[in-house]
Symmetry: D2
Subunit: 439 residues, 4 copies
Amino acid sequence: MQSNINFDESALAQRLMNHRREFHRYPEAAWREFFTTSRIASHLQQMGYSLCFDEEIIKRDSVMGRDADLVAKAQERAISWGADLQFLAQMNGMTGVGAILDTGRPGPVVALRFDIDAVEVMESQDDSHRPRFLGFASLAPGVAHACGHDAHAAIGLGIAELLAQEQANLTGKVKILFQPAEEGCRAGKAIAESGWLDDVDYFFAAHMGMNVPSGTLVCDPQHFLCSSKFDLHFSGKPAHAGIEPNAGQNALAAACTSVTQMLAIPRHRDGMTRINVGQMHAGDGRNVIPANAVLMGETRGENRELNSFMYQQVERIAKASADMHGVSVDICPQGEAIGLANDPELVALLESIGEESGFTQIFREKDFGASEDAGYLVDRVQASGGKAIYCLVGSDLTAGHHNGDFDIDESRMLPAVKLLFNAVKATQAKYAGQEIIYS
Amino acid sequence: MQSNINFDESALAQRLMNHRREFHRYPEAAWREFFTTSRIASHLQQMGYSLCFDEEIIKRDSVMGRDADLVAKAQERAISWGADLQFLAQMNGMTGVGAILDTGRPGPVVALRFDIDAVEVMESQDDSHRPRFLGFASLAPGVAHACGHDAHAAIGLGIAELLAQEQANLTGKVKILFQPAEEGCRAGKAIAESGWLDDVDYFFAAHMGMNVPSGTLVCDPQHFLCSSKFDLHFSGKPAHAGIEPNAGQNALAAACTSVTQMLAIPRHRDGMTRINVGQMHAGDGRNVIPANAVLMGETRGENRELNSFMYQQVERIAKASADMHGVSVDICPQGEAIGLANDPELVALLESIGEESGFTQIFREKDFGASEDAGYLVDRVQASGGKAIYCLVGSDLTAGHHNGDFDIDESRMLPAVKLLFNAVKATQAKYAGQEIIYS
Amino acid sequence: MQSNINFDESALAQRLMNHRREFHRYPEAAWREFFTTSRIASHLQQMGYSLCFDEEIIKRDSVMGRDADLVAKAQERAISWGADLQFLAQMNGMTGVGAILDTGRPGPVVALRFDIDAVEVMESQDDSHRPRFLGFASLAPGVAHACGHDAHAAIGLGIAELLAQEQANLTGKVKILFQPAEEGCRAGKAIAESGWLDDVDYFFAAHMGMNVPSGTLVCDPQHFLCSSKFDLHFSGKPAHAGIEPNAGQNALAAACTSVTQMLAIPRHRDGMTRINVGQMHAGDGRNVIPANAVLMGETRGENRELNSFMYQQVERIAKASADMHGVSVDICPQGEAIGLANDPELVALLESIGEESGFTQIFREKDFGASEDAGYLVDRVQASGGKAIYCLVGSDLTAGHHNGDFDIDESRMLPAVKLLFNAVKATQAKYAGQEIIYS
Amino acid sequence: MQSNINFDESALAQRLMNHRREFHRYPEAAWREFFTTSRIASHLQQMGYSLCFDEEIIKRDSVMGRDADLVAKAQERAISWGADLQFLAQMNGMTGVGAILDTGRPGPVVALRFDIDAVEVMESQDDSHRPRFLGFASLAPGVAHACGHDAHAAIGLGIAELLAQEQANLTGKVKILFQPAEEGCRAGKAIAESGWLDDVDYFFAAHMGMNVPSGTLVCDPQHFLCSSKFDLHFSGKPAHAGIEPNAGQNALAAACTSVTQMLAIPRHRDGMTRINVGQMHAGDGRNVIPANAVLMGETRGENRELNSFMYQQVERIAKASADMHGVSVDICPQGEAIGLANDPELVALLESIGEESGFTQIFREKDFGASEDAGYLVDRVQASGGKAIYCLVGSDLTAGHHNGDFDIDESRMLPAVKLLFNAVKATQAKYAGQEIIYS
């Protein structure tokens, strides 16, 4: 099988760079990607895609880690940045967009997924930081595209453009998902449960970087961790700490007890587990028994059972810590990642098209060692009878993911576009009965 | 008012010393005073008292801190020491004896109380320790009369002898209680609830020493602390600590959590509180998740409400600590002290007869600062319409109470006997309508 | 002795109210009283007082609990509210002002002290809250005069006005201190150590409310608690909580350990102690081992030894908690209160002039039960050979101190002014050899 | 290669059974194997071996987990059981014996190691428990051969007998080590450091059971955990818990703090770690601040670095917990296991001789998942230029290791003897230049 598309690669590379840099300037954190979504939707509409928003792609009941106040402020800022009011209306407060290209011809339903949110990290102020000296640094202090999702969104627009242009030579249907709120694994479940992917035959997703160097493709990353993100809200009763210390119900003490105890959840026979409490904020004054405390934590496990063991312990400890101090506790899920297992058929497919797509090294396995919201989408597609894959597109980095100095190798976006285009073509060929020869 | 009894004081003093030294040689800890009770009962029977044992003086359901195994071993040892088998049979496993002298003449019911148990302390092996070089040191390693109850028991026999001898000049009824298990406040409640003291008009109790020097009488000690003694038994599930740490339910961890948290019970606006965990024993091996843990603790408070506040926190913490680690907990009360408040009338009475009884200094108040099982008895008498008092009989000490070097000034037993005898006479005179002039 | 001043009481009462309401509208928390100081200074200058700022009244090295960033912001806000730039320049970042009225005639140096800072409390939004429906509610969300220092500042201006007006009839020197940062006991030590009060013969301070009803004067409040305010800053090392949890140094865990352990500092034989951690803020992300944590706490004790015992434990625990988790800790003192003991001569003086000043009930003692920054000032004056007093001026309150619903009885400001005026006159009379007859 | 020895297998099997049952009747825990050593020495002497005791085989400075009091009592009991006084004298308090068979002919030095201690476990009292109904149950309550070392010792005597009998056909030297104190990994280090094994060319050790069924040989078990066993002794200062709680230094509180914190040592990126505190004993009374606490714990890790990480944390936490409560702590190493890695050449050798030795299934790898004192010996031999192996000899068990119902399949001792005999012969053949063909 050969991809036979003709296009001006260097012009496309230039457009990818422009897209990426615009997204980089206007970074928006999870569930707040109003400007980003608006810009993407505008491009997609021009290319002729039909667009899906809000409950078409997101089951609201399953949304996690979305703060209404922060969302409202983000919406206002997006407007001040020039977001399209009509698209904002369609979003109805829910970011992200699904695009559909229906050829009308028989063929497979192929889905491509790109995550678009930034992370809450202060971008480097160092003059040697490329986005800074090239003039596309983050305009939002404390938020930055330090994970490469700006590139993912750009790649999504690139492949959308290519597919639209090649539409006459395509069959079936292509669905392109620009996913919000991947950070913290907050949206995956709600998108999966919306059912938007239920008719999908082939699902492709990719991540740039991840310690894979420029030029390398990893087709079947291993060890996607299951994870549960949670907030604990302890509520007690204030009292003057000097005058009647016995009258208070100490929420801070309960929170501290829970932290110490959570860190002591036993190790598990069956493999790797993790627990962290990353933040705590408690109390309002110095001389008042603190009546409120919130902490933000996460569990992880090598598989669902292990993560589930950890999370059950968290629930027990939260409850017991509250009881211990006579306070109440709300356990608020904030995100969740289940594992992710690629379909061997698609692994072989990617291995066979890597080279022609511009990769110089093709590896099968590499340890992923982190969590990915795409697990929910992969799981849903597989449960509905489709096949799915998540791969790693190498990119030299200037610093680790989520670091303020992080920057990607922009030249690696083009091979990603070509890889996905070739993948779409290959699945259509297969559907048409053509044998795919995995080189 | 003048006591007009004639007796050979020096002969009585000698007998008091003999009694005290015998009790000192054969010390028996709480609920294990079989030899001691047997010896006392034997003397009382000879003097003509009618005796009450077991459920006549003790409500079995209210007994605290009594270990059946230790009791059984103590009974065997008492037999080996020569305890009277007939009295043992009457005791039926419950130590202590109540003696009644009924004159048959109208008059008040006066009760006198003496506690008889030793403490679990290793007596000094120093050759300069008086019981040692005079040859009446403890024969039971690890148990000693280091609180002066040997003297109390001797004083009880002394006053019993004097009353029996003076019987013709007495009226009403005298009840003498030789109380077991004062240490740890384990018997008071059960004796009170037996009802044996319900007909009492006047109740007297005394303690030797307590930082009061020889020659001094303190008539109205203050601040008897309320206290609850408790054991916590945590039960979990063992597991190999290397092979499957997740499978255990860690009782030791739960116990440790409860200790840390109990020590952090908030201070109270209304006054002094205390918490202590004095012992912990947990686990059976090094490489097994420990499935059992027992700890021994106590709360205290300046009044019942404060002690109750502390004990409720203990209960909550015990429960929450167990829940935290998925284990179960039994909270086992082991003793309890309520406060103690003397009747002013009897305070004045003691003040008026101190000097003639041989005391050179009479004080009204002194801080007690500890707990006393007599509180239950005083409370019961007062609730039944009687009057009660607990006083301190000074005695120079060689070391503090519960110290292995502790020894009393034996010469101070005689004034105590005289004080109580004069007190009995005074109450009878009052009952007869004679005015008691408080000098 | 009779005060013979003639003035229009109702006009003064009206001015006191106006002053107080203006201060109430523009509340500024500790070390941020730029607008407040500017307004006070402006009035004092007009009355003819010579003014002292910055290092004249404050020893900078002894300042506690002052945050440069918050101070800078407060200064900007004060400017936006219309603070006088010239006074701001004189303050040089340090709020508060000392005013001197020097009669040039021989006589005593009398000092009057008024604290002027607000507390960080959200004022009631309830329409029935008087400052709200009368239109002088706080313009600074989260800050309110919920402790009555607005009234204190107004009383200070009232007495300043009266003294200036009566200047011809006065002798010696009067120093009026408008003290910043009383809340948290942050400024007292620095002011005392500036030496500004070292020549003072008589020192007077008063607090409104404190559970004393309108019309009542308490001349000698008891039990001013010693207290130490502190922040603990824990610094560790971040690490990805999933990828290498072992590489982090967990500052949040150290902070939680220290909280649990501080709450468990043993009770003390010698009397009342307190410990509280009122706030904690730690960590930046959910999935990062938290590398920073700050907590804000305080100890108290019935006397200096007890507070010192508590604070030494805090230091030990902070250090050990840091060592436990391999992090570092900075222990930052944020405030300190030592006790306060009035001079009996001044107690008697106030008792003698209460009635003529407009109080209907004069009490000698009442439990204070809290801490007061004035302790440092009283202590300094007494150490320098002067006499000092701190009294309570009754005022019915709508809610407790530091409560958002707190409001005072404005009509009680006038008696306070008269009391202080009479006190100044009385000390001058005494100095002149006139006997003061304590009625 | 074929073993060509002729002997009466069933007579040997009978003797193995007799030996094993005698050892089973007289179980002795670590460092207390006086009777056991005496019996073994007696047999070995009769066979003509020269024997090594005490410092010949044990470096006293490196001994861990040996309690002098328990050793003294065990020695007395061994005498009462009939231990040989002459051997006791040679042992000089140190159990275990090394036996040497020197052929005088050139050849390799081959060492065989057998551990001989019992575990502190109460043997099943169930009548169906084989040692009980066959009459060889433990005579020492609370101690039992519940790990199979009775069989190991018997196998050691069996192979000793066979080698002595075949001496004329052997070359070089054979050293047989009957090792004390394997449980808790207490002796291995001291034996290794004695240097007794430094001239060894080939070292063989085996364990029966370990979840390997009868008939199966596992030649190269994997994942021997590194482990450190430790006791922590906390020493504080007692004080009356009611009268002056502030005066105590609470050792129990320090111990509890250390437990909670040790359980919270972070998981490690590089693999499996473990921590356990299996026992705690603290305090003497209920109403005394506990002045002493001892706890017994262990760390484990998949490799030396991981175990070392854990143990360093334990040291830090122990120290910080002591500092926290103002007490002192002694950290007492009680045992240590380093990893264990077999030499491939010997793995292949065992694979090649398993079948002829009577095994029906030969496996290469199996997870060991526990710790083995033999690691020190293997390590020493390898460091000195020799080769070493530790294998598993299958045996159906009636219950898991260290369980009171544990019993082995006695018929599996004979194949173990044959395996070792064949191994010795094979190494000698190899030394002689004969090729060993690994089938």
